[in-house]
């Protein structure tokens, strides 16, 4: 447990440090890109296998997609809890950040770190440190699209 005195600032820094660590190594761009490609592509292949698996189990296209997301989110949360995710992310960079696994890690990691700050303003708010902006701006963009799509459909 990390109980440094920086408190709020230190905690915030630590939270971001976790995500920043993936890119902290000063390795050359091409190697980073290759790793991101291999890990990211690999996760997508696992995703495709899950989609097909749920499909053969009788789920329709939409449902199997959702179930796949949920499964990947679960795995990423578990690996984050076990402390394995960060080690993989250090090598994989965007390869684990950009797939939905990164979204899950971005919620789980701050949530675990914020436990000492309490369950409401600690875990409850820090869980949305990164996920909040993602959901906010994604939803805003989709609402704007929806309004435009509606107006265009009137003519």
């Amino acid at each position: 447990m990390n109980t440094e005195t920086g408190k709020e600032k230190g905690r915030e820094k630590q939270t971001y440090k976790k995500f920043a660590e993936g890119r902290a190594s000063s390795s050359p761009l091409l190697k980073d890109m290759l790793m991101a490609y291999l890990f990211g592509g690999g996760i997508c292949v696992i995703g495709q296998a899950l989609i097909n698996l749920y499909g053969t189990l009788g789920a329709d296209v939409k449902t199997s997609g959702t179930l796949t997301s949920i499964t990947l989110v679960f795995c990423a949360a578990l690996l984050t809890g076990l402390g394995v995710f960060d080690n993989i992310a250090k090598i994989a960079g965007a390869g684990t950040l950009v797939p939905i696994t990164g979204f899950s890690n971005a919620m789980t990691s701050p949530a675990i770190d914020a436990k000492s700050e309490g369950w409401v303003l600690g875990v409850g708010s820090k869980i949305f440190n990164v996920a909040g902006p993602v959901i906010l701006y994604g939803t805003l963009a989709s609402v704007i699209y929806g309004v435009i799509y509606y107006i265009v459909g009137l003519f």
Binding site: N2, L38, G47, L78, V98, P99, V134, A141, Y145
Partner: protein, 117 residues
Amino acid sequence: MEYLWAFLIGGAICAIAQIFIDKTKLTPARILVGCVVLGVFLHAVGLYGPLKEFAGAGASVPLTGFGSSLAEGVKTAVNEQGLLGALTGGLTATAGGIAASMLFAFIAALLFKAKAK
């Protein structure tokens, strides 16, 4: 074959994002926000839907696919219930993934202790 395309397209999206991580000062949070908004935009202009048809999980698993799902949900909802759909469609379509992320992240917080750095 679909596994090959899932690998190639999904990997490519991650590799492109890696360029932004290495070459700009964008924080991972900003990259994720960018991915989602980009996904909404690409779906809105009609590019991401066909990419999902083609690359399957290669397009749906990266966060751009999350944005695409938001846009797709909004479009379907607007078709069904008019303007209100612009507000209800996006989160309805993505509710499973978002609620699961909250649930599993919370359970992880219950079960695991923070690692000393």
